[in-house]
């Protein structure tokens, strides 16, 4: 955009007109309208605020976040960090946030896989597969999520007691106290192997980048997968072997009236997760299907004409183009799943909404409690949309 290429007439600014104090002047009208609207909305908010302050005084409700340091005294069934009812409200709310994140993160990952599988199944050439996937999507999207959650929770409660627990696979128990699955006894060697795995992923990524740079320079494709296998699988296994290869499984077993050992998944968490995943997957399936259909058939044919194999066509040609269509609606589905996890309160899973609700009932500080809920969700929503916007900008079409 050098100066020489632009017609000088376009760079000339319109002549400045002095503001006339008249309704005919557009700028005066704009100012009047804005002052009017801001004034009306401001006075409504001021009115509500003054009412609230007055009501709080009359009802002798304390304000401020001082209650966060007081003892909560509310029992929480499951938490990721250690928690006792004698801990503070702040810690109780933190447990709630972690519980929300626990269901949201796991839910997003599972819903993405299930939704993608169903979306692809809907496009299958096999009539039966396509119709079943279509039926699933139609039914699941037309039922309220809350109804589905209550339904799953009823099913969970309808499972037999611990003594008659269902055993679909050896070591897995399904009962009305929740699911019991075998757990690995965690040792330092496992932590080390996990770190080695993450390091392997980072190294693979660096290696793939340099391989691509070299391919750009001399045109020779280089195989990345042997290095990837060695780094991502080999490195952790080696680390684990060096540290003594501990491998002890904690099997759940029936002792008396309940189970001992193993990892337990509460019925509330299981119902919420199943409900959220199956519901959101129905929406993600449609997003994925639309994304794949948005890639022109000519792109497939052109790629095949170049001699690429089916997998290469998908990976190099179709997927990058489909992702551009898929990412924005996928973001809103992730946000919806996170916000929908607040329905946990209806089936008694103690997420942030449930704990904040108990807190505001105990302390009577409604405004602070709801402000905390909104703040937490706004933070989560903004983080997810910032990350997805960054990712979207990265894969967006680069145009000259």
């Amino acid at each position: 955009m050098s100066d020489a290429t632009v017609d000088p007439r376009f760079r000339r600014k319109p002549p400045k007109r002095p503001i006339r104090l008249s309704w005919a002047d557009e700028r005066i009208r704009g100012i009047v309208w804005q002052v009017l609207v801001v004034g009306i909305i401001g006075s409504i908010i001021w009115w509500l605020w003054s009412n609230t302050v007055h009501n709080l005084e009359v009802r002798r409700i304390a304000t401020g976040f001082g209650f966060l340091n007081r003892e909560a005294g509310l029992p929480i069934a499951e938490s990721l960090i250690s928690y006792e009812p004698t801990d503070t409200y702040f810690r109780a709310l933190l447990v709630g946030v972690l519980n929300t994140l626990k269901v949201a993160v796991v839910g997003i990952v599972l819903a993405t896989f299930l939704g993608t599988a169903i979306g692809i199944a809907r496009l299958s050439k096999n009539f039966l597969v396509a119709k079943i996937a279509g039926f699933y999507v139609e039914v699941i999207r037309d039922l309220p999520l809350l109804l589905q959650l209550l339904f799953w929770y009823t099913i969970m409660q309808g499972l037999p007691g611990p003594r008659q627990a269902l055993k679909p696979v050896e070591g897995v128990f399904l009962s009305n106290r929740g699911f019991k699955v075998p757990a690995l006894v965690w040792e330092p060697a496992h932590t080390a192997a996990l770190i080695a795995c993450i390091a392997g992923i980072v190294l693979t990524w660096l290696y793939a980048r340099s391989a691509r740079a070299k391919q750009m320079a001399d045109g020779q494709p280089r195989k990345v997968w042997p290095a990837a296998v060695a780094l991502i699988l080999g490195l952790p296994v080696l680390t684990w072997q060096v540290m003594g290869a501990p491998w002890e499984i904690d099997w759940p077993a029936l002792r008396g009236f309940n189970f001992r050992g193993g990892m337990s998944i509460s019925p509330e968490y299981a119902a919420l997760l199943i409900g959220l995943v199956t519901y959101t997957a129905g929406f993600i399936a449609e997003v994925v299907r639309a994304g794949i259909l948005s890639v022109n058939l000519g792109q497939w044919e052109a790629a095949q004409a170049l001699g690429l194999r089916h997998g290469q066509v998908l990976r190099l040609i179709v997927l990058p183009q489909a992702l551009r269509v898929i990412i924005p609606p996928m973001t809103s589905n992730y946000l919806n799943l996170t916000k929908n996890s607040s329905l946990a309160v209806a089936i008694g899973y103690q997420d942030i909404v449930s704990i904040a609700n108990t807190t505001l009932n105990q302390t009577g500080q409604a405004i602070e409690g709801i402000a905390i809920i909104m703040l937490v969700y706004l933070t989560i929503s903004l983080s997810i949309s910032l990350f997805m916007n960054w990712y979207n900008a990265k894969i967006a079409l680069v145009e000259r």
Binding site: Q34, N51, K125, N126, L128, I132, L143, P144, K339, L378
Partner: protein, 380 residues
């Protein structure tokens, strides 16, 4: 290709021969769609087996082993022992037979149930009329206002010889329909104003609209409903109080307004800029331009996504269960609180789910058909 033409004998008759059976007809269809390869065949057989098993299991549970009614003792307690003896091998539809009036109309006076029933029919009629393209003009506004007023009169009563029914006794399906429909009717004008405001050149108005939309869309509906149920009484001057249903209605309207505003904004953005410029060149004022040129075109563009958003709200009204308002889902959940009916949740949720499914499925099919119709000119 050349071999074939060389070896084909000259046709004596000009009658076209039909294609071989393996290329057309049901056999060919089966071969291409179900048994196109060994993988496809295996999948078809496995899925077919599972479907047959599932259907047989479902028919057994829902019809063959099901119990449709149970005796009621003179004290009015249902004898559900027969249902419990099934131990889940059959459905106990008796709970639906016994409780369907309660689930549909809540605690509305029993002898007055015809009123909420007519209200439901009026709502359905309103949806059908609104979906017809010949009514897509200004006549729709008086139709809506008239129907909604009639619905109010029928529900409250107190005039025309109808006994007065306080709002606390309303419940069931009419509440779901009222929350969804009134919410949409109130949120729609609001959303148009907000969408226009968000595209306005006036910075203060734009900032207000962006803040409203983004704040509401960033938080779950539940937090707004909690706000309506516990914070709203604090907002109002002492002594002034509005009932719970209206508070929930306000929360749902504010929530719907933010989402609808984004849909309407999509329509405003999709309109070619030439339409705005041409309207300005005609010397129309802002409101003339918006009312006569922009909105009629932009709203027509967004009708399918509007219907989809409406389906979303229709389902989301079930969230009022959490603040204790007696909608269809709450009524269903309450119906099984009674000791004799405890444990028959699945049957009740299937029944309630079917009602939701009927409404949402009809709307989603309508929206798909409409979208295809409105896009027809693009496809040639």
């Amino acid at each position: 290709m050349s071999d074939i033409t060389a070896n084909t004998p000259a046709m004596s008759s000009s009658e076209p021969r039909s294609a071989p059976l393996t290329a057309v007809g049901p056999i060919a269809w089966l071969r291409t769609n179900l048994f196109s390869g060994w993988l496809s065949t295996a999948v078809t057989l496995a899925l077919g087996y599972l479907i047959v098993r599932a259907v047989i299991g479902f028919v057994d549970w829902a019809f063959i082993n099901a119990i449709w009614s149970v005796p009621v003792s003179p004290t009015g307690v249902a004898q559900t022992q027969a249902c419990r003896d099934l131990q889940g091998s059959g459905a106990c539809w008796a709970v639906v037979t016994e409780k369907h009036r309660f689930m549909l109309f809540g605690t509305y006076p029993y002898e007055q149930h015809w009123r909420p029933a007519i209200v439901c029919l009026l709502f359905i009629g309103l949806y059908i009329v609104s979906s017809m393209r010949r009514f897509w003009n200004w006549t729709l506004i008086p139709i809506w206002i008239g129907t909604l007023t009639t619905i109010g009169i029928l529900m409250w009563g107190g005039i025309l010889g109808l006994p007065y029914v306080p709002q606390e006794r309303w419940g069931g399906l009419p509440i779901t329909l009222i929350l969804a429909t009134f919410g949409l009717a109130l949120a729609f004008p609001l959303s148009i104003l907000v969408a226009l405001g968000r595209r306005s050149n006036l910075p203060a108005i734009k900032v207000l609209c962006v803040l409203y939309v983004e704040l509401i869309r960033g938080v779950p509906l539940i937090s707004l409903l909690f706000m309506a149920s516990v914070m709203f009484p604090l907002f109002l001057p002492e002594g002034m109080n509005i009932d719970k249903l209206l508070r929930a209605q306000i929360a749902i309207t504010l929530f719907a307004g933010a989402y609808l505003a984004e849909v309407v904004r999509g329509g405003l953005q999709a309109l070619p800029k030439g339409q705005y410029e041409a309207a300005e060149a005609m010397g129309l004022s802002y409101w003339q331009k918006t009312g006569l040129i922009i909105l009629p075109q932009a709203l027509r563009l967004v009708i399918p996504p509007l219907v989809n958003t409406f389906i979303g709200f229709f389902k989301d009204t079930s969230l009022v269960l959490i603040i204790g308002i007696f909608d269809l889902l709450t009524a269903g959940k309450t119906a099984i609180v009674e000791p004799s009916w405890q444990g028959f949740g699945v049957e009740v949720y299937v029944f309630v789910g079917l009602i939701y499914l009927c409404f949402c499925f009809a709307m989603s099919k309508y929206s798909q058909g409409l979208e295809a119709e409105l896009n027809r000119h693009r496809r040639r």
